[in-house]
């Protein structure tokens, strides 16, 4: 107890005294406002329960908003490397803004952990890491479930944007491997007021199941319309839909919706042998102590996992270099891609120099909406 009070005091003084050389500085840019705000805000909330010291050293979390604007995201990244001289960059929390920041990270030789799935070009691989599960890993869980249920075809309805494309491409690729027919691919916009026409086209192609390639509460519109038009097969969603807003928006029509997600969602139902379980439960208790019961989400878990990765890497890097130096930034990167496993809330991460995605099928479970909550699908 005394020890933690002392640590907190040390942390508090370290925090109030600006630019102490031995502090680790971490820049976090996220989509806390703008179109992707609903997805971004949990990251900021998680950052507020981050520890003030990691690996026995004070740490400054510099959290800034990029308003879901790639230009602002790049400005934030510049600010991180030029003014704040951060040791590592986290973010951003949408695919577009996170991708925009990679140039600055590579140029400044500062590691970046993207908190939204992005495509990492080989030239950028030395400095850019991807933390959330890549879409194909998530979609493969859906295709596996289709095979288990002996279903032969699936239709797609998703956003007419990058997120829709990612899921559509993953679905067509994974389904081809599994010999499952994709009957049609329909698109809509998040703010559309009706998807009746697209849903009728989906139903007319008579699929065994449907994948809704959307996110959050906007995924409720196809779910409700499908049920309303009498579709009875299983309806799958993306992991972007595992938020309470979807359950609220879909109401009764949401019951039975299936989606792949990080194990943190069903942490309490995981077997005790799973290394993710204790980490998840610890995160949930800390997060919900501040933000209320039922507030923890896999998205907030990504932020927590980024913190855990920085912590694990800092432990190694501190042995060879001082924070704030180019050597420390390089050491931090090397420690991140050392191939050691780090158990997080959403996955067991194992980055190597060749693989900066670092997750496997332990990083997802299939959940079902039951009685207004996400439960592990049996």
């Amino acid at each position: 107890m005394m020890k933690s009070v002392a640590a907190a005091l040390v942390a508090a003084t370290a925090f109030s005294a600006p630019a102490l050389a031995q502090d680790i500085k971490v820049g976090l840019s996220g989509t806390f406002s703008g179109p992707n705000a609903a997805n971004g805000i949990p990251y900021r909330n998680a950052a507020e329960v981050f520890p003030k010291t990691i690996a026995g050293t004070g740490v400054q979390w510099i959290v800034v908003d990029d308003a879901t604007d790639p230009t602002t995201a790049v400005k934030n990244a510049r600010r991180f490397v030029d003014e704040d001289k951060v040791d590592i960059i986290l973010g951003s929390t949408s695919t577009v803004t996170a991708s925009a920041m990679t140039d600055v990270a590579v140029e400044a030789k500062t590691a970046q952990i993207a908190l939204s799935p992005i495509q990492i070009a080989p030239a950028k691989r030395p400095w850019v890491f991807n933390l959330p599960q890549p879409v194909p890993i998530m979609v493969s869980a859906i295709v596996e479930d289709l095979k288990k249920r002996k279903l032969k075809s699936i239709a797609f309805i998703g956003y007419a944007d990058g997120w829709g494309d990612l899921n559509w491409n993953a679905l067509t690729a994974e389904a081809r491997k599994a010999g499952i027919e994709v009957t049609t691919g329909e698109r809509y916009n998040r703010t559309d007021t009706s998807v009746t026409a697209q849903v009728l086209k989906v139903i007319a192609s008579s699929p065994d199941a449907v994948l809704v390639g959307a996110s959050g509460s906007a995924a409720a519109l196809p779910q409700i319309t499908l049920k309303d038009q009498g579709f009875t097969g299983p309806i799958y969603h993306t992991h972007g839909t595992v938020v309470k807003a979807f359950i609220d928006a879909a109401g009764k029509a949401g019951e039975g919706a299936l989606m792949p997600t990080g194990p943190v969602v069903a942490a309490a139902e995981l077997p005790d042998s799973n290394p993710i379980k204790p980490v998840s439960l610890d995160f949930i208790s800390k997060y919900e102590a501040k933000w209320g019961k039922g507030s923890a989400s896999p998205v907030a878990g990504y932020a927590w996992d980024a913190m855990l990765l920085v912590e694990a890497a800092a432990k190694e890097a501190l042995k060879t270099a001082k924070p704030g130096t180019p050597e420390f930034r390089a050491a931090l990167r090397d420690a991140l891609q050392s191939g050691r496993e780090v158990a997080g809330t959403n996955a067991v991460y194992r980055f190597t120099a060749e693989d900066h995605y670092g997750v496997d099928e332990r990083a997802r479970v299939l959940v079902v909406v039951k009685d207004g909550a996400f439960r592990l699908a049996k």
Binding site: S33, P35, A37, A38, I41, A160, E186, R187, Y188, N189, R190, T191, D192, T193, S194, V195, T196, A197, Q198, L200, K201, A204, G216, S217, A218, A220, L221, Q229, A245, D248, A249
Partner: protein, 347 residues
């Protein structure tokens, strides 16, 4: 595509087309009377829909604070203007117009909202809360710049749209809202089933359009509005206060927006920023009618709704492109007609 699907699509297209049609009316009205391109039309629809959704949850909607704040700012600014000009003649009446309806709506909502007001009362509250925002927007923003060029007015209208979207975000948050339906289910008419919601939208928009028609055709205020729309300068010469007409046009436009919001609220989930695309589609409807005729604008908007639904069915990735692409042939046709008539005028 078979007949069943075609009928459902037709219903869907008509429902959204009618909503676009109502917005097209408000856009055209504001444009003809004040030359302001009414970009925030959809924001008023969203305000109406979200206010209704929150009211039906038995909570006080954030619209109350938007209205109260706007009324307070307008009252202060108008007082300052009167003081600077040293002219207090119109001031008491103006302040009464600004403060009384807003205060009444705000107080009534604060009192009734927590008691889970019945649906008709909730709807009246929505109209009472949203309509004055149109009037206040005119007094605060557009009246002082009444002589500015159309382009300036358009940019200011875009700015107002962003301000309203921002206020919507703070008042309602980033998640979507959907009110419970007034009458769930469908009416079986033999060959197809009509959703009650479509019938309600149809009845209300027909009634609203008829009322507007009567207002413009039979009442002094309506005729004055039409005169202002046709020829501002001439209207002023015959003693019409064109500024009051502007205020009236904005108030009616806000009322139409609120009514459309009430209609669309139970049909779909709306976000604080859903309004812009709906405005644009209403705008496409008015442009197809040459920004001149009310009935043709409604027809244009209906066509937009039908084309949108058809495009969603046949080529959903391109549906927005198809809807806005509709503008191109219509603009070509209109400009061709214009050149020909102008040519004739010179002969």
């Amino acid at each position: 595509m078979n007949a069943t699907i075609a009928l459902i699509l037709l219903q869907d297209g008509l429902t959204s087309g009618l909503i676009y049609g109502l917005l097209a009316l408000s856009i055209l009205l504001v444009f003809l009377v004040t030359r302001v391109l009414w970009v925030p039309a959809g924001d008023f629809l969203v305000l109406g829909a979200l206010t209704l959704a929150v009211l039906r949850q038995g909570e006080v909607p954030g619209t109350v604070w938007i209205l109260a704040g706007l009324a307070a700012v307008t009252a202060i600014v108008e007082t300052w203007r009167a003081w600077r000009a040293g002219d207090w003649r119109g001031w008491p009446r103006l302040i009464a117009l600004v403060v009384v309806p807003s205060a009444a709506a705000v107080l009534a909502t604060l009192w009734l909202a927590p008691q889970n007001a019945p649906v008709p009362v909730a709807i009246l509250l929505v109209l009472a809360l949203v309509t004055p925002i149109g009037f206040l927007t005119y007094r605060l923003v557009f009246r002082p710049m009444v002589d500015q060029p159309t382009l300036t007015l358009m940019f200011v209208a875009v700015a107002v749209h962003y301000v309203l979207t921002g206020l919507g975000l703070t008042a309602f948050g980033s998640e979507s809202f959907r009110s419970p339906p007034f009458l769930p289910g469908r009416l079986d008419v033999g060959f197809t089933r009509l959703s009650y919601q479509l019938l309600i939208v149809l009845a209300v928009s027909a009634a609203l359009m008829a009322a507007l028609g009567l207002f413009f055709g039979r009442t002094l205020w309506g005729k004055a509005l039409r005169a202002t729309a046709m020829q501002r300068f001439g209207a002023r010469l015959v003693g019409i206060r064109t500024e009051s007409m502007g205020a009236l046009a904005f108030t009616i436009a806000a009322l139409i927006g609120a009514v459309s919001g009430v209609l669309i609220g139970p049909m779909t989930a709306l976000y604080y920023d859903s309004g812009f695309l709906v405005s644009l589609k209403g705008f496409v409807g008015t442009v197809m009618a040459g920004m001149a005729s009310f009935p043709l604008s409604v027809l244009g908007a209906l066509l937009v709704g039908l084309v949108e639904t058809g495009a969603s069915f046949y080529a959903s990735p391109f549906k927005e492109a198809i809807v806005f692409g509709l503008l191109v042939p219509f603009l070509l046709w209109r400009s061709a007609v214009q050149i020909r008539t102008r040519g004739k005028g010179h002969e």
